[in-house]
C-alpha cells in the first residue's frame, strides 16, 4: 500500500465514521422526536376526549336530575329522544377513546366506565319507564350508579392525565436515551475508526522507522564513524546520499563490466574466427602436401623413398587431424554446432567405430569387444556423425592408451533412467590418476602432459567429446584405476525412431536355425567370452566355452557334450587356426563340424584357404551380431549361403573414362592434386580458374559432373552454380550434379552451397577415395554396395 493510501484511508474512515455518526444521531433524534410528539399528541387527545366525556356525562346527569325532579312535563318521546342524545354522545366519546392506541390500564378503565355507564343507562331507562318493566330503580340506586359512572369518568380522566404526563416523560426519556445511545455508538464508531487509524499510522511509522533504521544500519556499515547522528532524518538523508553514490558506482561498474564482457566475447569470437580462418588457411597447403605425398607414394619408388613418403603421408594426415580438431573445437566453443535430428542405426555407428579402430588395435594386440544386446532399440534419432565422433574419441583414446588387454564397448538401454541409453567403454590401459579425472574433459589437457609424451594427440579429443555430450544434453563420466584401466560411461537421452523396436530381420529369418544347437566357444578373454555367451544364449544355443584351443585339444577326443559348431574368438595366426582345425576334424565324426573363426581384418585373407581344408569360415573382428548370426547359420547350413561376389569389386572401379568432369578451382596446387589423383581413372577433366570461366565452359561443353570451388576470383562458386542452374532451366536441360569442393568447412557454407543448387559438399584437403566415391555416386555409375564388406 502506498503511503498516500495509508494516510488517506484512515482519514477517510474517520471522516466517514464522523459523518455516519452524525447521521445516526440526528436521524434517530428526528425520528424519536417525531414519534414522541405523535405520542404526546395522541395522549393529549385522550385527555381532551375524557374531558369531553366528563362534560357530556355531567350534562346527562344534570338533565337527568332535572327530569327526575319532575318539575316540567315532558312526553316519553321527547324524554327518550333527549336521553338518547345524551347517551349517544357519551357512547360516541367512549368509542372514540376505546379506538385509541392506549395503555392496557386506560383501556380497561374505559371499558369499566363503559360497562358502568351501560348499567347506569339501563337503570336510567328503567327509572324513566322506558323499558316497560313493572318496577323502577330507586333514586339512591340510580344516584349511586351515577356516582360510580362519574367516579369511573374521573378515574379515566385522571389516568389519562397521568398517561399524558408519563407519555411526555417517557418521550423525553426516550429521546434522551436514544440520543445517548446514538452518542455512545457514534463515540464507539469514532473510537474504532481512531483505533484503526492509529494502528495504520503506527504501522506506517514503524515501517518508516524500519526503513530509516535499515538505512542507518547501512550508513553505519558503510561509514565506520561511530558519531551519533543528531537527527534520524538527517541520518536517513545521509544514508540515502550514500546509497545514491553506491548505486551510481554500481551502475558505472556494471557499464564497465558490460564493456569488458563484450570485449571478452569479441575476443573469444575473434579467437574462434581466427582459428577457423587459420585452419582454413592451413588446410590448403596440407591439401597440397597430402595430395602430393599420396601421388608420390603411388609412384614407383625405392624402399627407402617409400618409407620417406609414408612418413610424409602420416605426418600430413596427423597435421590434418590436428587442424580438424582445432576447427571442431573452436566451432563447439563458439556454440556454433548444430546437431542433426535424423534417424540412425546405433549398431552401425558402434561397429563403424570398432571397425575403424580395429586395425590399430590388432597392431597393438588388443581386442575390441562390442556388446550390443539383441533387445537394444535399433534406430535412434540424433546426430549420428557426432555420436560417431564421440565414440571415436573415447574408443580411440582407449585403444591408444591400452598396450595390452582389450577395449570393451557395452551398449545398454534402460527405459527407467532419465537418460535411457548408456554406452560404456572400458579398457585395460594405463588409467588416469584420480586427481586428473576432474579435468580430462578440459581443452588441451592430456593426462601425461607434464611427463614424457608417450602418446600423441592434441588433447582436444575429450574436450570436444565433452562439448558434444553437453550439446546433446547427455552426460559423460569417467572412472579409472591407475595402471588397471579406465571406464567411460556415456549417458544419452536420444529419442527412439518410429521403427526402433523392430527386431533384427535376420534374427527373425535365421533365429529358428540356431535354436537348440550346441556351440563350442573358444575365447581367452573373459569379457569377450561373457558377452558372446550371453548373445548366443539369447539366440537359444547351448554354449560350452573353452579358454583356448589348447584346452579343447587337450580334452579331445572325448568331449563331454555334443558339438554342432565351433566358434573361435581367440586371436591366432592362420597357421595356428589351421593346426587346430585339422586336429579337430581328425577326430571321429567331427570332420563335418563347422568351425567359425573371428579374426583380425589383416588375417582375413590368410584364413580364406582354410575353406579348402574343411567347413571353416572366417569372420572379421569384432563381428556384428547379424554378421555373426549369418555366419553361424551359413556354417551350419552351407547350402543357404549366398553366392559370393568377392573379387569383382576392384576391377572396373577406376575406369571413369566415359565421364567428363568440369573442375572449377583457382589454386594451381589443388588443380594438380586433383588431376594427379584422378588421372588413374582416365576421367576426362576440364579445369577452369574462376567461376565465370566455369560457366562459359559449361555452356559450351557437355559435362557429367561439376566440381566447384567456393572461393574463386571474378565469380565465386555459389554465383557460378546459380548461373549454371539458370542456364539449365533456360535451355531446358537436365540438371547436372554440381559438387562443392572447398576449404570452407563451416555448416553455413554447406547450407549456402546446397541453397545455390549444389548436390554434395566435399571439403579440402580431399582424399582420393572420397572424391572417387562422390564422382561414382553422382555419375550414377556406382553400385549402391560400395562398402568394403566380407559379408
Amino acid at each position: 500500500m502506498s503511503i498516500k493510501q495509508s494516510i488517506v484511508r484512515p482519514v477517510m474512515i474517520l471522516a466517514i465514521a464522523i459523518f455516519s455518526g452524525g447521521l445516526v444521531v440526528s436521524g434517530t433524534v428526528i425520528i424519536a422526536s417525531t414519534r414522541t410528539s405523535e405520542g404526546v399528541r395522541e395522549a393529549l387527545s385522550i385527555t381532551r376526549e375524557t374531558q369531553l366525556l366528563s362534560t357530556e356525562m355531567q350534562d346527562a346527569q344534570e338533565y337527568l336530575n332535572r327530569v327526575l325532579d319532575m318539575t316540567h312535563f315532558e312526553t316519553a318521546t321527547v324524554l327518550e329522544h333527549n336521553l338518547r342524545q345524551h347517551t349517544g354522545k357519551i357512547r360516541a366519546s367512549l368509542d372514540l377513546i376505546s379506538t385509541r392506541d392506549l395503555p392496557e390500564m386506560l383501556l380497561y378503565r374505559a371499558s369499566v366506565l363503559r360497562s358502568e355507564f351501560d348499567a347506569w343507562e339501563t337503570l336510567l331507562l328503567q327509572r324513566l319507564g322506558l323499558t316497560q318493566s313493572t318496577s323502577i330503580p330507586t333514586r339512591p340506586v340510580l344516584d349511586d350508579q351515577a356516582n360510580t359512572v362519574v367516579h369511573a369518568t374521573q378515574l379515566l380522566a385522571e389516568m389519562s392525565a397521568e398517561y399524558v404526563t408519563s407519555e411526555i416523560d417517557g418521550a423525553r426519556m426516550r429521546i434522551l436515551s436514544i440520543f445517548s445511545v446514538a452518542m455512545v455508538s457514534t463515540l464507539a464508531i469514532l473510537a474504532l475508526a481512531l483505533l484503526f487509524a492509529f494502528k495504520r499510522a503506527s504501522e506506517m511509522s514503524q515501517a518508516v522507522l524500519r526503513i530509516s533504521s535499515r538505512l542507518l544500519a547501512l550508513v553505519r556499515d558503510d561509514t565506520p564513524s561511530t558519531e551519533k547522528p543528531e537527527n534520524e532524518l538527517v541520518a536517513v538523508h545521509a544514508a540515502l546520499n550514500k546509497l545514491d553514490l553506491a548505486l551510481q558506482e554500481k551502475r558505472r561498474m556494471e557499464h564497465v563490466l558490460r564493456e569488458e564482457k563484450a570485449r571478452a566475447e569479441a575476443a573469444t569470437d575473434a579467437k574462434s574466427r581466427f582459428l577457423a580462418t587459420m585452419s582454413h588457411e592451413i588446410r590448403t597447403p596440407i591439401n597440397g602436401v597430402l595430395g602430393m605425398a599420396e601421388l608420390l607414394h603411388e609412384s614407383p619408388l625405392s624402399n627407402e623413398q617409400k618409407s620417406y613418403s609414408e612418413t610424409i603421408l602420416a605426418s600430413s594426415e596427423a597435421l590434418l587431424r590436428i587442424v580438424n580438431d582445432i576447427l571442431d573445437f573452436s566451432k563447439l566453443e563458439a556454440g556454433k554446432t548444430t546437431l542433426l535430428h535424423q534417424s540412425f542405426n546405433l549398431r552401425d555407428v558402434v561397429f563403424d567405430v570398432a571397425t575403424l579402430v580395429a586395425p590399430i588395435a590388432a597392431e597393438k594386440g588388443i581386442e575390441v569387444c562390442i556388446d550390443v544386446p539383441e533387445d537394444t532399440p535399433r534406430q535412434f534419432i540424433g546426430d549420428n556423425g557426432r555420436i560417431r565422433q564421440i565414440l571415436m574419441n573415447i574408443v580411440g583414446n582407449a585403444v591408444k592408451f591400452t598396450t595390452e588387454g582389450y577395449v570393451g564397448v557395452t551398449v545398454s538401454y534402460d527405459e527407467s533412467q532419465s537418460r535411457p541409453l548408456s554406452i560404456r567403454i572400458e579398457d585395460t590401459g594405463v588409467g588416469i590418476p584420480e586427481q586428473q579425472l576432474g579435468h580430462i574433459f578440459q581443452a588441451f589437457e592430456q593426462v601425461e602432459s607434464t611427463t614424457a609424451r608417450r602418446f600423441e594427440g592434441t588433447g582436444l579429443g575429450l574436450a570436444i567429446t565433452a562439448h558434444l555430450v553437453e550439446a546433446m544434453e547427455g552426460e559423460i563420466k569417467a572412472t579409472s584405476t591407475l595402471g588397471k584401466g579406465s571406464c567411460f560411461i556415456l549417458h544419452l537421452d536420444l529419442p527412439l525412431a518410429a521403427d526402433a523396436k523392430t527386431l533384427n530381420p535376420r534374427l527373425i529369418k535365421f533365429g529358428p536355425d540356431l535354436a537348440g544347437k550346441s556351440v563350442m566357444l573358444i575365447s581367452d578373454l573373459p569379457f569377450a567370452r561373457d558377452l558372446r555367451t550371453r548373445l548366443l544364449t539369447t539366440w537359444g544355443m547351448d554354449v560350452h566355452w573353452y579358454n583356448g584351443c589348447a584346452d579343447v585339444l587337450a580334452t579331445l577326443p572325448d568331449l563331454p557334450h555334443p558339438v554342432d559348431l565351433v566358434l573361435v574368438e581367440t586371436g591366432m595366426s592362420a597357421e595356428a587356426a589351421e593346426h587346430f582345425s585339422m586336429m579337430f576334424w581328425q577326430q571321429a565324426d567331427r570332420e563335418s563340424i563347422p568351425i567359425v573363426f573371428a579374426t583380425e581384418p589383416q588375417h582375413l585373407t590368410a584364413f580364406q584357404h582354410l575353406k579348402e581344408r574343411g567347413p571353416a569360415t572366417a569372420l572379421m573382428k569384432p563381428p556384428r551380431n547379424s554378421a555373426l548370426m549369418q555366419a553361424l547359420v551359413f556354417a551350419l547350413h552351407p547350402e543357404r549361403s549366398l553366392p559370393t561376389q568377392s573379387g569383382s569389386e576392384t576391377e572396373n572401379i577406376d575406369d571413369l573414362s566415359a565421364f567428363h568432369v568440369l573442375i572449377a578451382e583457382d589454386n594451381r596446387t589443388n588443380q594438380l592434386v586433383l588431376r594427379k589423383m584422378l588421372a588413374s581413372t582416365n576421367l576426362k577433366m576440364t579445369f577452369c580458374n574462376d567461376g565465370q570461366a566455369a560457366v562459359d565452359a559449361y555452356e559450351t561443353g557437355k559435362f557429367d559432373l561439376v566440381l566447384m570451388d567456393m572461393s574463386m576470383p571474378i565469380m565465386d562458386g555459389l554465383q557460378a552454380t546459380r548461373m549454371i542452374r539458370k542456364w539449365e532451366v533456360d535451355t531446358n536441360r537436365p540438371p547436372c550434379p554440381i559438387i562443392a569442393l572447398t576449404a570452407n568447412v563451416m555448416d553455413t557454407d554447406e547450407d549456402a552451397c546446397r541453397a545455390a543448387g549444389m548436390v554434395d559438399f566435399l571439403t579440402k584437403p580431399v582424399r582420393k577415395q572420397v572424391v572417387l566415391k562422390a564422382i561414382k555416386q553422382w555419375t550414377r555409375l556406382s553400385d549402391d554396395q560400395l562398402e568394403v564388406g566380407n559379408l
Binding site: 327530569v67 325532579d69 319532575m70 318539575t71 316540567h72 312535563f73 315532558e74 312526553t75 316519553a76 324524554l79 327509572r127 324513566l128 319507564g129 322506558l130 316497560q132 318493566s133 313493572t134 318496577s135 323502577i136 330503580p137 330507586t138 333514586r139 339512591p140 340506586v141
Partner: protein, 342 residues
C-alpha cells in the same frame, strides 16, 4: 361488589369497639347477626309498580303536579302536599283537625315509601294507592272535592289537557287517569339514604355510638323491632298500642271483628324525627313521649289488652333510642313542580 362489602363489614364489626356489648344480650359483633341485620335492613333497589299501572315518567310528572295542585281541593286552597308536606317527612306538623261527624282526629300519615305500604290509611281500609287517592280528595274534612269538579277544572287548563291527552291518549282527564297519575307519583317517593343506611352499608362512623346503643335497645329490650321491622321499620300490620281515644281504627270498619278495635296501621319510622306530632292521633308531641308511652306499655288510662309490652328504660337510654331514631332521617330534596296556569 357484595363480597367486598361483606368483607369490609365483617372487618368493621370484628374490630369495632362497642361499649354496649357488655350489658346487652345481643352481640353486635356476631357476624351472623350482622348478616341478618344487613339482609333485614337492606334498602330495596327497585320500586314495585302494579301491572295495571306501570311506571311512566310523564304520568309520574303529571301525578306530581296534581299532588301539588290545590285545584284538586274543593276550596282550591289546599293540595295533597298541604298535609303530606315533604319538609315534614311527607306528613304535617300540625295536630289533626277533628272530624266533624265523630270527632275523630287522625294525623296525616307519611306517604314515604308508599310503594311498599299496604294496607293504606291508619285503619288499613284500602290496599292500593289508586284507591286510596280518592279518599282525601273527596273527604269533606280534608280536600272536600269531587272528581267531576276536578276534571272540569283541569280541563280548563290547556296544558293539563294536552299532557293528559299525550300521557293517556284517547282518555285524557278522568278520575282514573288522575288517581293513576297520583299513585304513580306517590310510588316514586322513597325515603332517602339516611345515616343509618350508611352505617348498615358499612360506614361505622355514619352514626354515633349512642345511636348504635339506641339501635340495640330498639332491637332488644325496647322491643320496637317487634313491629317496626325491615328497612321501612314497619310490619305493614295493624296493632293496638294502647292509646286513649274513641277512634276504634280498624275495628270501626264494616265487617271487622271486635278484636280489630283500636288497631292501627304500623307506620314506618323513616324520617320519624321530623314527623311530629306522633301517633295516628298526633297525641304525643315528641319521641321521648313515644318511647315512654311504649315503656309504660300504653296509656295508663285505658283498660284493655294491647299489643305492647312495657319495659324499663332510663332517660339516658331513651336518649339513645331517640339518637338512633334520628339516624333514620334523610335529606330529601324535592323541587315543587311548576304548575300550569289557567
Amino acid at each position: 361488589m357484595w363480597v367486598v362489602l361483606c368483607f369490609v363489614l365483617g372487618v368493621f364489626f370484628a374490630f369495632s369497639p362497642s361499649g354496649a356489648q357488655a350489658d346487652e344480650p345481643i352481640a353486635v359483633s356476631a357476624p351472623e347477626w350482622l348478616m341478618l341485620l344487613r339482609r333485614q335492613y337492606k334498602r330495596p333497589e327497585q320500586i314495585p309498580f302494579p301491572a295495571e299501572n306501570p311506571y311512566r315518567h310523564d304520568v309520574a310528572t303529571l301525578g306530581k303536579m296534581l299532588f301539588f295542585d290545590p285545584r284538586l281541593s274543593g276550596s282550591q286552597s289546599i293540595s295533597c302536599s298541604t298535609c303530606h308536606n315533604p319538609s315534614f317527612g311527607w306528613a304535617t306538623p300540625v295536630h289533626p283537625v277533628p272530624n266533624l261527624d265523630n270527632n275523630i282526629r287522625r294525623h296525616a300519615p307519611s306517604i314515604v315509601n308508599a310503594a311498599w305500604v299496604t294496607p293504606l290509611f291508619w285503619d288499613g281500609r284500602v290496599d292500593t294507592l289508586e284507591r286510596q287517592a280518592a279518599g282525601p280528595i273527596e273527604d269533606p274534612n280534608e280536600m272536600n272535592s269531587d272528581f267531576d269538579t276536578i276534571i272540569r277544572r283541569l280541563h280548563k287548563v290547556r296544558q293539563y289537557r294536552e299532557w293528559f291527552e299525550q300521557s293517556f291518549p284517547g282518555e285524557g282527564i278522568t278520575q282514573r287517569t288522575i288517581v293513576f297519575a297520583l299513585a304513580t307519583y306517590q310510588r316514586t317517593i322513597v325515603s332517602g339514604i339516611s345515616p343509618f343506611d350508611l352505617w348498615i352499608d358499612g360506614n361505622h362512623d355514619a352514626i354515633s355510638e349512642e345511636a348504635k346503643r339506641g339501635f340495640q335497645l330498639f332491637l332488644g329490650r325496647a322491643g320496637c323491632a317487634e313491629c317496626h321491622r325491615s328497612w321501612m321499620f314497619t310490619d305493614n300490620s295493624m296493632h293496638d298500642i294502647g292509646l286513649i281515644g274513641q277512634d276504634r281504627g280498624q275495628g270501626a270498619l264494616p265487617g271487622q271483628p271486635p278484636e280489630a278495635n283500636y288497631h292501627f296501621k304500623t307506620p314506618g319510622l323513616r324520617n320519624i324525627a321530623i314527623r311530629a306530632p306522633y301517633m295516628h292521633d298526633g297525641s304525643i308531641p315528641d319521641l321521648r313521649g313515644v318511647v315512654r308511652h311504649y315503656a309504660n306499655g300504653g296509656s295508663i288510662w285505658i283498660n284493655r289488652e294491647t299489643d305492647i309490652v312495657p319495659f324499663d328504660i332510663s332517660d339516658h337510654e331513651v336518649n339513645e333510642i331517640i339518637a338512633f331514631l334520628n339516624t333514620l332521617t334523610a335529606d330529601t330534596m324535592s323541587q315543587p313542580p311548576i304548575l300550569p296556569s289557567n
